[in-house]
Amino acid sequence: MANESWKPSIIGFMCNWCSYAGADLAGTSRIQYSPEIRIIRVLCSGRVDPKWIIKAFLKGADGVIVLGCHFGDCHYITGNYQAEKKIKATQEILEMAGLEKERLYLDWVSAAEGMRFAKLVDQFTDKIRKLGPLKLDDEKRKKLTAALLTVSNDKVRWVVGREFSIIKDGNAFGEKLAPYEFHEQVKSIIKDNLKKSLIMAVLKSGPKTVREIASELRESESEILKQLVDLMRLDKVEMGEVKDRNPLFALKGE
């Protein structure tokens, strides 16, 4: 399906202390790997904002790979744990939005693992080659826009940012939650938010009725209505004129 001349666009985020150094070591050891990856250096994998990742896809990246230090090795003590939560959540958002979460990959490479670095990059490039180009059609653009809204949402960012510390130290009442338990809550918040974001992404092209939104998102009308009521309460959507006895909903301020 991919044509001969197509070469995947891959963005790599590497942390300065481990994976970027591992990439340098691959260089000094002259370990050859696929040339498609374009590396951006950050100080810590925990610095990688999910917004960047979604924006990279929206700009035409076919794959994004984030490599950090192994657990316990992080130069910033816990940055890689934070990265894990963020990237995992971003993968889940992609999946919930109906996109291929395999296009986003997270792993760990130490400064001493030049060989491993090259292997992971090759494996990831191969995987993206097999998946083919992302092909940003209207449908995907809409989904990615919704994903961007979701990773930018304050509530989502709060729970994802809080996940590591809550599991480690417990909540404000000193209660410790099992990781899976808390993560289920995180996921439900993300899911709820993504639904709202998808509606907002759909409304970007103009006011629509509940039925129109529901058919575009392949959701039940009652679910869409529920979310719309929420969105109106949050002051993001407003009810406008009535079309064929059905009210039109529009993004507020647009």
Binding site: L43, C44, Y76, I77, Q82, K155
Partner: protein
């Protein structure tokens, strides 16, 4: 003139690196393409950009072409970023108006067989760097005054040595010890391996020196309760428990303890002797003074319950009027530039593993218990007698690796505790020295005797007739009448099942992270290794430093080690602290976050997640807002990546900078190879 309004004049220097880059990347072509990029006003190819002439060229070109941004495309920034940043500084530019494109390690060297792709990639990387550099903003240096005092936490052999080194160098040093006396575990040892020095004889003079040193402020019976601040300026709160005995008046005559009616097990002799509620921790204690233990003293207990002033026998016995029942807890506030943590270890508690019968069978003891039995000040006055009936010992068995190299038992360590093999060798040797006829068996998995003179010492023990058996007893049973112990183990060398009855068993207990280490680590934002001990900044090159500037490690708090290694690490920690404290100011360029106060809602997610306490939420006129402590920030950017409101922007690794790179890397190329 603001950074935005000024015209961006970017100079790009593309390195051939001899043939390292030029043999793969078509540098000429890349240079041509780069010339067409927006803001690029000057492009130069160099054979070696990092050479003296290459650097001088950059300097000249900055001046001549009025460059205000520089991109060097060459090797990894991990290699030469500081080199070129210095050139910029010399030329009067802020060193952060600079980017490097890594076209060697991450391009020419790894795509040697695909020159076309490598050339395109090199251009992409440079284009991304140009895109970022025009968005970079200057990062200013900040200065932090260095408070020229030090704090050492833990008064064992490591902490004492660190404190003495600092104090001798003229640094006012506070030494905080949780026990009533300094000395730590080493003071409890009888002899030290492999030289068999008397432990307290070599430690005692050091303890006295610490106690008398004019530059050391000794705070015993105390603990750190709160830490604020950062390198150069830590503010530490210490809680000093009341002793109820005036240390200056007490001459440690012991008349008080003779009269005291409350009998308690003496911790120093591992509970094998009795002490009173008014007691001295050890005969050589520093400070050499008694203290009253609040929770056990009759008078203090009754007073606490609102009762009358009862007992008071010690008060009457003390001729020097040293006893003061009105003594109060004290909170001491210290302000120091550097902190050394030397809180040591604790012994693994083998009663967690019922198969050994520790605490159930009186004649099963730990190495530390046995150390006291061997000691002339111990429960048996140094005679080899066993606890159950005080009978002389005729046979004894040691079991190695109790609580070490154990993945199954909760609370045990997977690691080797390093010292237990040699302690056993030493104790077995001491037994043979006391009573050559005693049968000594050592059940082991491996004998690990790496260290100066250690293997020789172990071999000497073998020649003395100590029996070493490879194999650990699965269980210890006690003969209820004789209190003798029966061990069954498979001798791994012969495959024979051996049953052995001995008078006494010594468990070679491993070393564990001490109680309260988790809390202490949290106070200083230190991380712990998988084993629970504190983690060093680098396992090879920075073994006494921590990821937190100005906080250093000495002794077993980092990992189990013997006395010479602890002392050596204390020296390393003290040297590092001295290096810091010798400066009046420290200068740093933290790539810290900048808070948009309009957007910040004071949710404190950044404060919770910051591993360095470098950001905190404070009350302002506009409500709760985040505040950055620039000097403490390491620039990781976790706060920026998670701020729910998007109110945090990082210096240098900024959102706009990184997003510009993403855009540049994914832009359609209008070039042809």
């Amino acid at each position: 003139m603001g950074a935005d309004s000024e015209e961006k004049r970017v100079g790009v220097f593309i390195c051939h690196c001899g043939l390292n880059i030029a043999a793969v990347v078509d540098v000429k072509k890349v240079a041509e393409w780069v010339r067409k990029l927006p803001h690029v006003v000057f492009v130069r190819e160099n054979i070696y950009t990092c050479s003296e002439t290459g650097q001088a060229q950059i300097y000249q070109d900055i001046k001549e072409h009025k460059l205000n941004r520089v991109v060097v495309a060459s090797c990894s920034p991990r290699m030469h970023e500081p080199t070129f940043q210095k050139v910029l500084e010399k030329a009067g530019l802020n060193p952060f108006l600079f980017e490097m494109a890594n076209i060697r390690e991450q391009c020419s060297w790894v795509h040697e067989r695909d020159k076309e792709s490598a050339t395109l990639k090199a251009f992409d990387l440079i284009r991304a760097s140009v895109s970022k550099v025009v968005r970079d903003e200057p990062v200013e240096k900040i200065r932090q005054e260095v408070k020229k005092e030090a704090l050492v936490i833990g008064g064992g052999v490591a902490g004492m040595n660190a404190a003495l080194l600092l104090a001798n160098a003229g640094i006012k040093t506070h030494l905080v010890e949780k026990d009533p006396s300094i000395g730590g575990h080493m003071a409890m040892l009888d002899k030290t391996f492999p030289t068999l020095d008397c432990s307290i004889c070599i430690l005692g003079p050091k303890m006295v020196e610490v106690g008398k040193h004019p530059n050391i402020n000794l705070i015993t019976y105390a603990e750190v309760i709160d830490v604020e601040g950062e390198v150069g300026n830590f503010r530490v709160k210490v809680r000093k428990k009341p002793r109820y005995v005036d240390v200056d008046k007490c001459v440690a005559c012991g008349d008080c303890a003779e009269k005291c009616p409350v009998k308690l097990p003496d911790e120093f002799n591992r509970g094998m002797t009795i002490r009173k509620a008014i007691y001295i921790q050890l005969p050589q204690a520093v400070p050499a003074a008694y203290l009253i233990e609040e929770e056990h003293c009759l008078r203090l207990k009754t007073l606490k319950k609102g009762g009358k002033e009862v007992c008071g026998l010690c008060l009457k016995a003390c001729e020097r009027d040293a006893i003061n029942f009105d003594d109060k807890e004290e909170i001491i506030e210290l302000n120091v530039g550097a902190v050394i943590i030397a809180t040591g270890f604790e012994i693994y508690d083998p009663s967690q593993e019922p198969k050994y019968g520790y605490r159930r069978f009186p004649n099963v003891v730990t190495q530390l218990d046995f150390e006291r039995i061997l000691n002339a000040d111990g429960p048996t006055k140094g005679e080899l007698r066993r606890p159950s009936d005080n009978k002389p010992i005729k046979s004894i068995a040691f079991i190695q690796c109790v609580g070490s190299r154990n993945e199954r038992e909760k609370g045990a360590g997977r690691y080797c505790s390093r010292v237990c093999c040699m302690i056993t060798a030493k104790q077995a040797f001491m037994i043979k020295e006391h009573e050559p006829d005693v049968e000594v068996y050592v059940y082991y998995i491996d004998m690990r005797t790496a260290g100066k003179g250690f293997e020789e010492f172990y071999q000497r023990g073998r020649k003395e007739g100590i029996t070493f058996l490879r194999g650990k007893p699965g269980k210890i049973e006690e003969d209820p009448e004789t209190h003798n112990l029966i061990l069954v183990a498979e001798d791994m060398d012969t495959g024979v099942l051996l049953e052995n009855e001995v008078d006494m068993v010594v468990l070679a207990t491993g070393l564990r992270p001490p109680q309260g280490l988790v809390e202490l680590a949290q106070k200083f934002h230190l991380s712990r290794s998988e084993d629970g001990f504190l983690m060093e900044a680098h396992p090879k090159l920075r073994p006494a430093e921590t990821p937190i500037d100005g906080v250093y490690l000495a002794g077993c708090v980092q990992f189990p080690k013997d006395i010479p290694d602890s002392v050596a690490q204390a020296g390393n920690a003290a040297a590092n602290a001295l290096g810091l404290l010798s400066k009046d100011y420290i200068e740093m360029t933290p790539l810290h976050p900048v808070i948009d106060l309009e957007k910040c809602i004071g949710c404190s997610l950044c404060e919770i997640n910051c591993p360095y306490k470098a950001i905190r939420v404070v009350k302002t006129e506009k409500g709760k807002k985040a505040e950055v402590i620039e000097i403490a920030c390491k620039g990781c950017g976790v706060c920026g990546a998670s701020c729910p409101e998007g109110a945090i922007e990082m210096k240098y690794y900024s959102d706009k900078g990184i997003e510009a790179m993403i855009d540049a890397l994914l832009e359609k190329k209008e070039v042809e190879v």
